[in-house]
Each structure stands twice: as C-alpha cells, then as structure tokens.
Amino acid sequence: MTRLNARLPYQILTFALFAAAWELYARARGGLLLPGFFETLRATGALLAEPELWRALYVSNQALVLGFAIALALGIPLGILLGRFRTLERYADVWLNILLVTPMAAIIPLLVMWTGIGLTSRTALVTVFSIVMVIVNSRAGVRQVDPSLIEMARSFGAREREIFTRVLLPGALPAVMTGVRLGLGRAVTGMVIVELLMISDGVGGLILEYRGLLKAPPLYATIVIILAEALLLISAARWCERRLTHWSRTTATRANLAGSPK
C-alpha cells in the first residue's frame, strides 16, 4: 500500500495535465460534438442519476460476470493441466495461438450467427476474449514452479494429487492471479465491443444511442463510466492478487513474468 500512496501524487499530476489539455482543446475548437472536461463531469453526474444507465450496466455486467466466470472456471484448470502435462500442449497450442492473435472483433459475427443476439452470445464473447490470458498465465505459473520443489515433495512421499494441491497450485497462484487481472481487462473490452458491433444493448448500446442522437456529453459520460468500472475491477483484482500472493514479493521468482505487478 505504501507504494500505491507514493505513486498517487504522480497519477494526480498526469491526470490534471490530461484534464487541462482536454478542456483547453475543447474550448479552442468549440462545437457540439466536443464537450470539455468539466461539461463531461457534469454530464457524468447527471447520467448517474438516470435509471437508463443502471439498466444498461446491469445488462452488460450480466454478460461480463457470466462470461468471465466461465473463463476462470475453464481457463485456470486448463492452463494448469497444460503446464503440468506437456503432451497436452501439442493439441492445445494451435488453438491458443489462434485465440491470441485473432482480432476478436472478426469472430463476433460468427458467434452471433451460432448463438443468436442475446445474453448467450454476449457471454460467449466475453469468455472468448478473456480466457486466453487466464490459460496462458496459469500455464506459465505451473511451469515456473521450481522442479526441485516437486522432487522434494516426492521425497517426502507426496502423491500426484498432493503435488498438485501442496506445490503446483500455490506455486502457480501469483501467475494465475496475474492472468485473472489481465483477463478481466480483456473481458471488459469484449463486453463493450460486442455491444458496439453487433448486439446493440447495455452500455455499448447506450453509446450507439447517444451517438445517433448526437448527444455528445452523455456519450462521453458513458465512456467515463465504463472506464471507471474497468479501473475499479482491475484495482480489485490487483488487491486480491497482493493479498493472496504476498510471498512472491519476498523472492525473485516472478521477476520476469509478463504483466506482473511491481
């Protein structure tokens, strides 16, 4: 926590610079479609009082919660199995690569064709967006567990099940949590993109609606609220990560893990 507090002044400073630049540009350029920073703030306040926003957030987050829960329930065990049993990798590698490199927006039409325009396809998209981060990081987590710990456990009579529960799972936890945090970011992205591109519903639908009506301030306010939600969720994930994996900061084991928090 001390680190967070130490960084806070810098974050406030850069945010103030950003807000000032935005406000100045909006005033210099003027026009209906570019509200200033303060006007956006006012619009955000106003929008928060609208039941329409809360309905949209509810709709969107349904897909987020369901889709991300599925991503975790499938992704963590799958990643751990892939990390432990290398032969499985031969089957999974190509699919993981596809998931990693495909522009996900491109498969939205397919998903919609398969599952219709409803909660199912929005949920599926959130899962597809986020699961790869969860799998890849869980797999890396298991791989980076020191093999001598497995040997040690075996020397004290551990069976495969105990090696999983006492060595591999706790050892992989920091990386799994990193995957959860990165996956969450992608899940929010997926949630909004599907609503913007195919299924006009939820907060994405709200953006489209305000854009169609040329209502710039509430449009901006919606985006601010989506960003705020994303930041909140990721901070919560980071907080959990710190709480659960305090030990990993006493060792250098995860210094080279992609996306690990400092």
Binding site: D146, S148, L149, E151, S155, F156, R166
Partner: protein, 265 residues
C-alpha cells in the same frame, strides 16, 4: 543397514545420446554411520543418492535398507537438498512440518514438533518468516529441520552446504556434527569438497566417473566429537587424508582428460 549391489543407471540426454551415470556401483552403509560420497563432478554421486531416496528409478541392481528392497520414496529416508527446496509461500514452521503433513500427522502435533526443531536449529523467533526473508544458511537449517522432523532412519544430504558462503558452511558443518554426534542417524552426504568429506565422515566413499562407481572406501580416523572448538586439528590425519583424496581426484580428472583428447573426433 543400506546395501547397494550392482547398481546401474543410464540416462538419455537431450541429443538422444545415452549417458551412463552409474555402472555396477556397490556400497554398504552401516547403521549410525556418517558416510560421505566424494567424487569429480558428473561421477553420478547425486544420482546414486537420488536412487537411494527412491526419486530416480535405476536400470539394474538392488538397494536394500535393513534387508528390504526400496520401492520409491519411503518414510525411513529424508532428504536435504542443495538448493534448499523450501516452499516460498510457506512459513518456516509450515516448511518444517511439510513432511509430517504429507504423512497425515495432526496439525497440533506437527506444529509442536516443528517448533521444537526450529528451536533446535537455532531459528527460534523466525517461525513465521518466509524463506525469502532468510539467509541461505538459515534456509538450509530449515531444510535440515524438515528432514529431521519425519524422524528418518537415514538422512540423505545432497551437497547441502554447496550453496552457502564459506563461513556459513563452517558453522553449518559444526552444527551438523554436533547434531549427528548427539542423535547418530545414518547419514549419506554427497559433497565435492575433500575437506568436508573428511571433516564430517566416518568413511569417505570415493566415486569415479566413467564408470560411475565407488572406487575406494577411505576410513577417516579422526576422533569424535569433532564439533567442539572449531573442529578437529587440521594438521596430521586430516591434512594427510584431504591430500590423499585430492591426489586420487586429480588422477581421475587427468584420466578423464586423456580419454577425451585421445578419443577420435
């Protein structure tokens, strides 16, 4: 106590070549004996130890402990690792209690026994610390305590002091000697140091590489207890033995070099 006959073990390396680690190795270790295994690097001494631990399957031969052939790891043996192999997320007490936990000892009992051993190893006050917060020497004390916690008949130690600095090593050697002289477990101790082999062992089993087998058993005729007053007199028998062991090891290294350069490319 431990009887090893005709033990052979080959590995396949990354390029698919067959490497003979042990070839018809034989060794007997007596009850309550402190045996040190010394040899040039790559002679298979760690492999031999891991075979005794039941961690590495061997191709042929037998390993018996009190007449029973070993089948995998067992509660009669506990191992101490060169790199400590402590669980980085578990406290000192939980690490020491790890073997007991795997053996289904109830929480209260295993914690009590772990705390006693933590105190024996001079780590009182560090019970709740994580391994990453300890120095290398302290970490290995935890590793030794973890092995002692399961009350093994045989303590297998794989270059346990190889990863700590010279001064810490001296301290740990003296502590181990004091501990052994009090409790007299059977110990097989792998080392690459002639001095360590002589200082600690009742006998030194000198291993040769290619073939990996015990080339010679050297009795160490130094009085015990050796732990007190900074260890035994380092002149006399001690100096003679380490010099003799180095002569033998150097011969092995030279033979190895001739074999290498003499072989057709």
């Amino acid at each position: 106590m431990i009887e090893i006959h005709g033990l052979s073990k080959t590995f396949t390396d990354r390029r698919g070549d067959t490497v003979t680690a042990l070839d018809d190795a034989r060794l007997d270790v007596a009850e309550n004996e402190f045996l040190t295994l010394l040899g040039p690097s790559g002679c298979g001494k760690t492999t031999l130890l891991k075979c005794i631990a039941g961690l590495v399957p061997y191709d042929s031969g037998t390993i018996e402990i009190d007449g029973r052939p070993i089948q995998g790891p067992g509660p009669d043996r506990a191992m101490v690792f060169q790199n400590f192999a402590l669980l980085p997320w578990a406290s000192v007490v939980d690490n020491v209690a790890f073997g007991l936990r795997l053996r289904g000892v109830a929480r209260a009992e295993r914690e009590e026994r772990a705390r006693e051993l933590v105190a024996t190893m001079g780590l009182a006050g560090f019970e709740k610390k994580l391994p990453g917060e300890l120095s290398g020497g302290m970490q290995q004390r935890v590793g030794i305590a973890r092995a002692l916690a399961v009350q093994p008949q045989v303590l297998l130690m794989d270059e346990p002091f190889g990863a700590v600095d010279e001064q810490t090593r001296r301290l740990l050697q003296e502590e181990l000697l004091a501990l052994w002289e009090e409790q007299r477990p059977t110990v097989v101790f792998v080392t690459h140091s002639m001095e360590e082999a002589v200082l600690l062992g009742d006998r030194v089993a000198l291993m040769s590489a290619r073939p990996g087998r015990v080339a010679e058993l050297v009795p160490v005729d130094l009085p015990r207890p050796r732990a007190r007053g900074g260890g035994p007199d380092r002149s006399g028998v001690y100096a003679e033995l380490t010099a003799y062991l180095w002569d033998r090891l150097r011969e092995m290294h030279e033979e190895h070099r001739t074999v290498r350069t003499g072989a057709p490319a």
